[in-house]
Amino acid sequence: MKIPAAHGRNFCLKVSKLRIIIDKVKKMAIFKKGKENKKQKNQQGQKTQFPVSNDDYLKKELYATVRENIDYLKIYQGECWDFVTVKFTLENNHQEIDVGLAYLAGLVDQKLLNKTVIDALNRNFLKAKKELPEGEERFRFFKSKVLIAIGIDEAESFGKLFNALLSGDMIVFLEGCNKCLIVGARMYQERAVEKPTTQITVMGSNDSFNENLLTNLSLLRKRIKNPNLIFKNYILGKESNTNVVLAYIKGLVDENVLQEVEKRIQKAELPEVTDASYLEVALREKQFSIFPKIFYSERPDTVANNILEGRIAILCDSSPEALIAPSVFIQFLHSTDDFHQKAFIASFFRLLRTMGFLLSLFVPSLYILLIFHHSELLPVNLLFSVAGQRIQTPLPAYLELFTVMVAFDLLREAGTRMPTAIGTSLSFVGAIIIGQSSVDAGLISPIIVIIVALTGIGALAIPNYKLNLATTITKYILAIISVAFGSFGFTLALVMLLVHLSSLRSFGVDYFAPFAPFSKEGLKDSLIRVHLENLRNKWRQKKQYPH
């Protein structure tokens, strides 16, 4: 007598066979041909560049007269309301010199301007003992004797001049010199250093980055008092000319990664960088992925920790988030709170969070698999209960699932950008109307509410917003595959998801480490965390990720 084999075993066999087939197909030439074609197309595409606004000033040298210089500035900024130019004459016993000032009203410290700069010019110029000839000598005198003790620099080209001017420095032109003085008089309006909004922890420091790059750097300096801490500046974005800073510790940092990051930053041809996320697009590997490839944080302590672990932080002016390179997947499930707790407790909550992540990914698809395709796998009592609930609702299981899932995500999306006052009523509407009433009206079964709520709570346990969003999308994809292709399709999708995650790289480092490639040492700070003393030194020596 032949008794049919269990379903599970069949699936395993099928899947393993299929994996082998996929590998073979990948190796086949037909797919390679296609890739080459694409490459050629890309190369052609790179030749066409995006349009650039008038950038003649970059190569232009300064004129020798104040009038000419100011006129040239006015070509660009003459129409601007906040652009201020002042011309006046300084005189002493020996001579008279025309001086021109140019600054942007909103960015310059007016007090400093009036009290110090104008004052210094008047007072110190009187001390000149002889007539100053045009050219280098006059310039030296002003730089070393007149405008002393004020953050001072010089510029010979309009490129550097504009950079300083638009950053909020004041420009001082001198008659007869083809150079200008740059007085550091910046005063930005900035938000105070406040509590973090997206990466909240229960314990630990409670400051977060704001939109001022210098403030952000100072927050890092405060935490790492080390002469090897380097802040390397780059100006990115052809139109926006934004300051981007690489922060790392010489000696600890992985040189290969540093070179890779620098190479990419230099190669990046960006029209504008108004936020760190613009950088993320330019810096990441050219691999398609829903999952976030570069870790970010608005917390100085997290960033400082990462720098101390040998990573590189990329900070961008007017962005409260620092990017971390390289990043690994498991980092997105970590919270700074883990390092404020004992190893055992931190490990437990990390596992819990990972469970939340897995729940939010798989619960809807597993539900649909069991209800739709494999009712025989449900335990008897559960089947009775589920069947009893489902019989009273009009929609098929998958439509019901998608309706409630979409409703939930809609509610969440609506709540994200809601003013706090309306937010309360929104959650009220969500809980009462969508949940309670539709169950009472018999439109949806209670179990589906539990399923979607479980998914939602699992997703909310993910500490990283970007991973949270990626999970939401993956959840839909998996659910659709489960409905259409059954458990075989689901298993295949799972395998593909793992293969995809394993294939990703972040700045040359394996994204799915320490699972693939597997490393025993790396596991100590992945799903669990062992004692801190056992962790860091070893990794620093090995330069191994995650560390």
Binding site: I3, I371, F372, E376, V380, F384, S385, Q389, A484, F485
Partner: protein
């Protein structure tokens, strides 16, 4: 072009695995139990207990939890097809937990039916098989249960509990039944279910609303089969003995009569039983050693004692009682010539050459004369006050 074909093949292979033959939970008609009987004309009567889905869930209707549908025919397949005239969808067999066989049918032979459910239906092979003692299987399905919502679940629970914690019943699944019938050297024995009271009144939902039940089902003693035909019933003591020998008991009790004529209860736990064939002077002998842990829980003379002599006395009496039960069971099996303990199977495993010589006459000639040595050795772990 080649690439497109390969991709198309992949996609089609995916599509054909999923949605085809899918059945959603609320489309299912869930069979919870099946009963097989012979009706008055001698043809097969198959009754299916179907879950009334409207009676479970979050807003249950006030309706019977199950419906029993019966049809007659010549073969099981025929009856199942006939039943499709009564119900709107195909039956879902994955979750039926109980197959009840009417006593009359059991005496005719059960093999074809058990085999049918093993190979033809999408049943999981964990449903329990029991004999309806002195009644029709259909009636057993009809009795409304009290503790569990679904009667078949209740009946299954009763069978499991009695076999584990009392020791008179037997919980036996389809696979085990088939293997017992088909393999040599063992006779099948099954648990049974009895109806106490009037089955007609028991099927009324009103029965549930009373504190004094009109009718209920009860797990009963072991039915002994020869090949696949029911031949006799064991009584309670014999069933207990059988379960001690086969080691199926997890937890039971023994009432011992003390020297002064009063009773004491001993709770028996962790029963471990081993049977060994021994060859002595060309004669086969079986040594059955049973060990257990026990607690003295009750003494009707008024007080228990921690005294060594008292404990030893009770232990010896317990050993004796258990040996008596086992002897009774063996005696019964020997008189009806049914080797339900699987002594033959043991020989097959341990002394294969000997078994080959005697297997044709083992059950009829050797087994009834078989000498057994029963060694019961317990330990009293605790005396309750």
């Amino acid at each position: 072009m080649k690439r497109i074909i390969i991709i198309a093949l992949f996609i089609t292979s995916l599509v054909f695995t999923g949605c085809t033959d899918k059945r959603e939970v609320d489309d299912l008609i869930i069979a919870t139990a099946i009963a097989l009987d012979l009706n008055e004309e001698g043809s097969l009567e198959l009754s299916i207990q179907i879950l009334n889905v409207h009676s479970v869930g979050n807003r249950p209707m006030d309706a019977a939890p199950v419906v029993v549908i019966a049809e007659t025919g010549r073969t099981v397949q025929e009856v199942l097809r006939k039943i499709s005239t009564i119900i709107p969808e195909k039956l879902f067999f994955s979750h039926f937990v109980l197959l009840v066989i009417g006593e009359e049918l059991a005496r005719e032979g059960i093999l074809p039916y058990v085999t049918f459910f093993a190979i033809n239906q999408d049943a999981l092979h964990r449903f329990n098989i029991a004999v309806a003692r002195g009644c029709k299987g259909k009636d057993v399905l009809k009795i409304v249960s009290v503790a569990a919502h679904v009667p078949s679940m209740s009946a299954e629970g009763k069978l499991l509990e009695t076999s584990k914690y009392y020791g008179i019943g037997k919980y036996y699944t389809n696979d085990e039944v088939l293997s017992d019938i088909r393999s040599e050297g063992i006779s099948l024995s099954l648990g049974s279910i009895q109806i106490i009271g009037d089955p007609e009144k028991g099927s009324d939902l009103e029965n549930r609303k009373k504190t004094d039940l009109e009718a209920y089902t009860k797990a009963s003693t072991i039915a002994v089969f020869k090949k696949d035909k029911l031949i006799d019933w064991m009584d309670e003591e014999e069933s207990l003995g059988y379960n001690y020998i086969s080691g199926k008991i997890k937890n039971s009790y023994i009432v011992v009569t003390k020297g002064d004529g009063t009773f004491a209860s001993v709770q028996v736990m962790k029963v471990n039983s081993k049977t060994k064939p021994i060859l002595e002077n060309g004669k086969i002998k079986f040594k059955i050693s049973i060990s257990f842990l026990a607690e003295i829980t009750e003494d009707l003379s008024g007080e228990t004692s921690h005294d060594n002599a008292y404990v030893r006395d009770i232990l010896e009496r317990t050993n004796y009682e258990i040996r008596l039960l086992c002897e009774k069971a063996i005696q019964k099996a020997q008189t009806i010539k049914a080797d339900i303990f699987g002594f033959g199977r043991l020989l097959y495993r341990k002394k294969y050459k000997l078994w080959l010589e005697i297997k044709d006459r083992f059950e009829e000639e050797i087994f009834p004369e078989l000498e057994t040595e029963i060694v019961v050795q317990g330990k009293i772990t605790r005396v309750k006050p």
